[in-house]
Amino acid sequence: MSNRRSRQSSSALRISDDQMIDLVSQLSQLLPEIRERRRSDKVSASKVLEETCNYIRKLHREVDNLSERLSQLLDSVDEDSHEASVIRSLLM
Protein backbone atom coordinates (compact mmCIF):
# COMPACT_ATOMS: atom_id res chain seq x y z
CA MET A 1 0.00 0.00 0.00
CA SER A 2 2.82 2.36 0.74
CA ASN A 3 4.15 1.65 -2.76
CA ARG A 4 0.90 2.84 -4.30
CA ARG A 5 1.00 5.96 -2.21
CA SER A 6 4.56 6.79 -3.11
CA ARG A 7 3.88 6.19 -6.79
CA GLN A 8 0.90 8.52 -6.69
CA SER A 9 2.78 11.28 -4.92
CA SER A 10 5.72 11.06 -7.33
CA SER A 11 3.46 11.32 -10.38
CA ALA A 12 1.79 14.34 -8.79
CA LEU A 13 5.25 15.85 -8.39
CA ARG A 14 6.04 15.17 -12.03
CA ILE A 15 2.99 17.07 -13.30
CA SER A 16 3.74 20.14 -11.27
CA ASP A 17 7.42 19.87 -12.24
CA ASP A 18 6.47 20.52 -15.87
CA GLN A 19 4.29 23.39 -14.84
CA MET A 20 7.08 24.72 -12.70
CA ILE A 21 9.54 24.57 -15.57
CA ASP A 22 7.16 26.56 -17.72
CA LEU A 23 6.48 29.13 -15.02
CA VAL A 24 10.15 29.54 -14.19
CA SER A 25 10.92 30.19 -17.84
CA GLN A 26 8.17 32.81 -17.92
CA LEU A 27 9.79 34.43 -14.90
CA SER A 28 13.16 34.50 -16.59
CA GLN A 29 11.64 36.42 -19.48
CA LEU A 30 10.59 39.17 -17.11
CA LEU A 31 13.95 39.62 -15.45
CA PRO A 32 16.16 42.13 -17.24
CA GLU A 33 19.26 40.40 -15.85
CA ILE A 34 18.45 37.10 -17.48
CA ARG A 35 16.65 38.29 -20.57
CA GLU A 36 19.73 40.12 -21.75
CA ARG A 37 21.89 37.02 -21.69
CA ARG A 38 22.55 34.91 -24.76
CA ARG A 39 19.86 32.37 -25.51
CA SER A 40 22.39 29.55 -25.27
CA ASP A 41 23.14 30.29 -21.64
CA LYS A 42 21.04 28.06 -19.45
CA VAL A 43 19.93 29.41 -16.14
CA SER A 44 19.04 27.17 -13.25
CA ALA A 45 15.66 27.40 -11.58
CA SER A 46 17.15 28.45 -8.29
CA LYS A 47 19.10 31.22 -10.00
CA VAL A 48 15.92 32.50 -11.64
CA LEU A 49 14.12 32.48 -8.30
CA GLU A 50 17.00 34.28 -6.64
CA GLU A 51 17.10 36.91 -9.37
CA THR A 52 13.35 37.31 -9.05
CA CYS A 53 13.66 38.13 -5.35
CA ASN A 54 16.41 40.62 -6.09
CA TYR A 55 14.40 42.22 -8.87
CA ILE A 56 11.29 42.61 -6.72
CA ARG A 57 13.34 44.17 -3.95
CA LYS A 58 14.89 46.52 -6.47
CA LEU A 59 11.44 47.58 -7.69
CA HIS A 60 10.34 48.19 -4.09
CA ARG A 61 13.36 50.43 -3.56
CA GLU A 62 12.57 52.35 -6.73
CA VAL A 63 9.00 53.00 -5.61
CA ASP A 64 10.30 54.19 -2.28
CA ASN A 65 12.86 56.42 -3.94
CA LEU A 66 10.32 57.89 -6.37
CA SER A 67 7.87 58.60 -3.53
CA GLU A 68 10.65 60.39 -1.67
CA ARG A 69 11.59 62.48 -4.69
CA LEU A 70 8.00 63.43 -5.36
CA SER A 71 7.46 64.42 -1.78
CA GLN A 72 10.58 66.58 -1.87
CA LEU A 73 9.40 68.20 -5.07
CA LEU A 74 6.10 69.18 -3.55
CA ASP A 75 8.00 70.58 -0.62
CA SER A 76 10.41 72.64 -2.64
CA VAL A 77 7.89 74.61 -4.61
CA ASP A 78 6.08 77.69 -3.47
CA GLU A 79 2.43 77.03 -2.98
CA ASP A 80 1.29 79.75 -5.31
CA SER A 81 4.00 79.35 -7.90
CA HIS A 82 3.71 78.25 -11.47
CA GLU A 83 5.76 75.16 -10.68
CA ALA A 84 3.30 74.09 -8.02
CA SER A 85 0.45 74.24 -10.48
CA VAL A 86 2.47 72.15 -12.93
CA ILE A 87 2.82 69.41 -10.38
CA ARG A 88 -0.75 69.68 -9.27
CA SER A 89 -2.03 69.31 -12.78
CA LEU A 90 0.09 66.22 -13.23
CA LEU A 91 -0.98 64.63 -10.03
CA MET A 92 -4.33 65.90 -9.01
Binding site: Q19, L23, A45, S46, L49, T52, R57, V63, L70, L90
Partner: protein, 180 residues
Protein backbone atom coordinates in the same frame (compact mmCIF):
# COMPACT_ATOMS: atom_id res chain seq x y z
CA UNK B 1 3.85 39.72 -20.47
CA UNK B 2 4.31 43.42 -20.08
CA UNK B 3 2.52 46.36 -18.54
CA UNK B 4 -0.02 47.60 -21.07
CA UNK B 5 -0.94 51.21 -21.70
CA UNK B 6 -4.37 50.46 -20.25
CA UNK B 7 -2.76 49.36 -17.02
CA UNK B 8 -0.65 52.50 -17.00
CA UNK B 9 -3.68 54.73 -17.48
CA UNK B 10 -5.78 52.96 -14.90
CA UNK B 11 -2.98 53.06 -12.38
CA UNK B 12 -2.43 56.77 -12.92
CA UNK B 13 -6.12 57.55 -12.55
CA UNK B 14 -6.45 55.59 -9.34
CA UNK B 15 -3.26 56.98 -7.92
CA UNK B 16 -4.36 60.53 -8.69
CA UNK B 17 -7.65 59.80 -6.98
CA UNK B 18 -5.83 58.64 -3.88
CA UNK B 19 -3.60 61.70 -3.85
CA UNK B 20 -6.59 64.00 -4.22
CA UNK B 21 -7.89 62.66 -0.96
CA UNK B 22 -4.76 63.94 0.72
CA UNK B 23 -5.02 67.26 -1.04
CA UNK B 24 -6.20 69.32 1.91
CA UNK B 25 -3.42 68.13 4.17
CA UNK B 26 -0.71 67.58 1.58
CA UNK B 27 0.47 71.20 1.66
CA UNK B 28 0.91 71.27 5.40
CA UNK B 29 2.27 67.78 5.82
CA UNK B 30 5.90 66.95 6.50
CA UNK B 31 8.04 65.43 3.78
CA UNK B 32 7.84 61.97 5.31
CA UNK B 33 4.08 62.14 5.84
CA UNK B 34 3.63 63.16 2.24
CA UNK B 35 5.92 60.39 1.07
CA UNK B 36 3.88 57.89 3.02
CA UNK B 37 0.67 59.17 1.46
CA UNK B 38 2.18 58.99 -2.00
CA UNK B 39 3.42 55.47 -1.46
CA UNK B 40 0.26 54.11 0.12
CA UNK B 41 -1.96 55.54 -2.62
CA UNK B 42 0.38 54.06 -5.21
CA UNK B 43 0.15 50.64 -3.59
CA UNK B 44 -3.64 50.68 -3.34
CA UNK B 45 -3.87 51.93 -6.92
CA UNK B 46 -1.65 49.08 -8.10
CA UNK B 47 -3.52 46.45 -6.12
CA UNK B 48 -6.96 47.65 -7.19
CA UNK B 49 -6.05 47.08 -10.85
CA UNK B 50 -6.53 43.39 -10.22
CA UNK B 51 -10.04 43.84 -8.85
CA UNK B 52 -9.52 41.26 -6.13
CA UNK B 53 -8.65 38.44 -8.51
CA UNK B 54 -5.17 37.77 -7.18
CA UNK B 55 -3.91 36.77 -3.77
CA UNK B 56 -1.12 39.34 -3.69
CA UNK B 57 -3.45 42.25 -4.46
CA UNK B 58 -5.88 41.27 -1.72
CA UNK B 59 -3.03 40.85 0.75
CA UNK B 60 -1.56 44.23 -0.20
CA UNK B 61 -4.90 45.97 0.22
CA UNK B 62 -5.34 44.37 3.61
CA UNK B 63 -1.84 45.35 4.66
CA UNK B 64 -2.33 48.95 3.52
CA UNK B 65 -5.68 49.05 5.31
CA UNK B 66 -3.93 48.35 8.60
CA UNK B 67 -1.73 51.40 7.96
CA UNK B 68 -4.47 53.72 6.75
CA UNK B 69 -7.92 52.27 6.85
CA UNK B 70 -9.63 55.48 5.85
CA UNK B 71 -7.58 55.95 2.70
CA UNK B 72 -8.17 52.41 1.52
CA UNK B 73 -11.90 52.58 2.11
CA UNK B 74 -12.11 55.89 0.26
CA UNK B 75 -10.09 54.67 -2.70
CA UNK B 76 -12.05 51.48 -3.03
CA UNK B 77 -15.49 52.80 -2.21
CA UNK B 78 -18.07 51.55 -4.62
CA UNK B 79 -15.95 48.61 -5.65
CA UNK B 80 -16.64 45.21 -4.18
CA UNK B 81 -13.03 44.93 -3.06
CA UNK B 82 -14.09 46.89 -0.04
CA UNK B 83 -15.48 43.69 1.37
CA UNK B 84 -12.06 42.10 0.93
CA UNK B 85 -10.62 44.37 3.56
CA UNK B 86 -12.37 42.44 6.27
CA UNK B 87 -12.03 39.07 4.67
CA UNK B 88 -9.61 36.82 6.48
CA UNK B 89 -7.03 35.26 4.20
CA UNK B 90 -6.95 31.48 4.69
CA UNK B 91 -4.07 30.16 6.74
CA UNK B 92 -2.66 27.16 4.97
CA UNK B 93 0.85 27.24 6.39
CA UNK B 94 0.23 24.21 8.58
CA UNK B 95 -0.36 22.05 5.48
CA UNK B 96 3.20 22.62 4.32
CA UNK B 97 4.62 21.13 7.51
CA UNK B 98 2.51 18.01 7.16
CA UNK B 99 3.51 17.53 3.53
CA UNK B 100 7.16 18.03 4.39
CA UNK B 101 6.99 15.46 7.20
CA UNK B 102 5.31 12.79 5.09
CA UNK B 103 7.73 13.43 2.20
CA UNK B 104 10.59 12.90 4.63
CA UNK B 105 9.15 9.56 5.64
CA UNK B 106 8.71 8.53 2.01
CA UNK B 107 12.25 9.56 1.17
CA UNK B 108 13.67 7.50 4.01
CA UNK B 109 11.99 4.35 2.74
CA UNK B 110 13.33 4.70 -0.81
CA UNK B 111 16.93 3.79 -1.49
CA UNK B 112 18.56 6.72 -3.23
CA UNK B 113 20.86 6.58 -6.19
CA UNK B 114 23.40 9.30 -6.91
CA UNK B 115 21.05 10.87 -9.44
CA UNK B 116 18.31 11.04 -6.89
CA UNK B 117 20.69 12.69 -4.45
CA UNK B 118 21.48 15.44 -6.92
CA UNK B 119 17.82 15.92 -7.71
CA UNK B 120 16.99 16.10 -4.04
CA UNK B 121 19.65 18.72 -3.44
CA UNK B 122 18.40 20.81 -6.33
CA UNK B 123 14.89 20.59 -4.94
CA UNK B 124 16.12 21.76 -1.56
CA UNK B 125 17.78 24.76 -3.13
CA UNK B 126 14.65 25.63 -5.05
CA UNK B 127 12.68 25.34 -1.84
CA UNK B 128 14.92 27.82 -0.11
CA UNK B 129 14.63 30.28 -2.95
CA UNK B 130 10.86 29.99 -3.09
CA UNK B 131 10.80 30.78 0.60
CA UNK B 132 12.69 33.96 -0.21
CA UNK B 133 10.04 34.76 -2.77
CA UNK B 134 7.30 34.28 -0.20
CA UNK B 135 8.91 36.97 1.87
CA UNK B 136 8.77 39.61 -0.84
CA UNK B 137 5.42 38.90 -2.49
CA UNK B 138 2.42 40.21 -0.50
CA UNK B 139 0.44 37.32 0.88
CA UNK B 140 3.25 34.95 0.03
CA UNK B 141 3.04 33.30 3.40
CA UNK B 142 -0.40 32.00 2.43
CA UNK B 143 0.74 30.46 -0.84
CA UNK B 144 1.84 26.97 0.09
CA UNK B 145 1.51 25.78 -3.51
CA UNK B 146 4.67 26.66 -5.47
CA UNK B 147 2.81 26.83 -8.75
CA UNK B 148 0.43 29.40 -7.31
CA UNK B 149 3.33 31.29 -5.79
CA UNK B 150 5.06 31.72 -9.13
CA UNK B 151 1.86 32.59 -10.96
CA UNK B 152 1.21 35.29 -8.38
CA UNK B 153 4.81 36.47 -8.62
CA UNK B 154 4.55 36.88 -12.39
CA UNK B 155 1.47 39.04 -12.03
CA UNK B 156 2.95 40.99 -9.13
CA UNK B 157 6.08 41.85 -11.11
CA UNK B 158 4.12 43.12 -14.09
CA UNK B 159 2.04 45.27 -11.74
CA UNK B 160 5.13 46.60 -9.98
CA UNK B 161 6.62 47.50 -13.35
CA UNK B 162 3.47 49.47 -14.15
CA UNK B 163 3.69 51.28 -10.84
CA UNK B 164 7.35 52.15 -11.29
CA UNK B 165 7.00 53.26 -14.92
CA UNK B 166 4.11 55.62 -14.25
CA UNK B 167 5.62 57.06 -11.09
CA UNK B 168 8.93 57.58 -12.84
CA UNK B 169 7.28 59.41 -15.75
CA UNK B 170 5.43 61.70 -13.38
CA UNK B 171 8.45 62.47 -11.25
CA UNK B 172 10.67 63.06 -14.28
CA UNK B 173 8.07 65.35 -15.84
CA UNK B 174 7.60 67.25 -12.60
CA UNK B 175 11.33 67.70 -12.10
CA UNK B 176 11.74 68.86 -15.67
CA UNK B 177 8.86 71.28 -15.27
CA UNK B 178 10.46 72.83 -12.24
CA UNK B 179 13.93 73.18 -13.59
CA UNK B 180 12.76 75.33 -16.45
Amino acid sequence: MQPTSTMNEEFLKKWQMGLQMFRPSIDNASVSERKRAIKLSADVAMASLRKGTTCWSRALIQKTATEDNFLVRQMLSGIKEETLINKKLPKVMCHRKIVRRSKKILMRRKSRSAMEEVAAKAKKLVKRKTQGLRNVVPGGEFMSNNVLLIQETLDYIVSLQTQVNVMRSIVDAAEAGIER
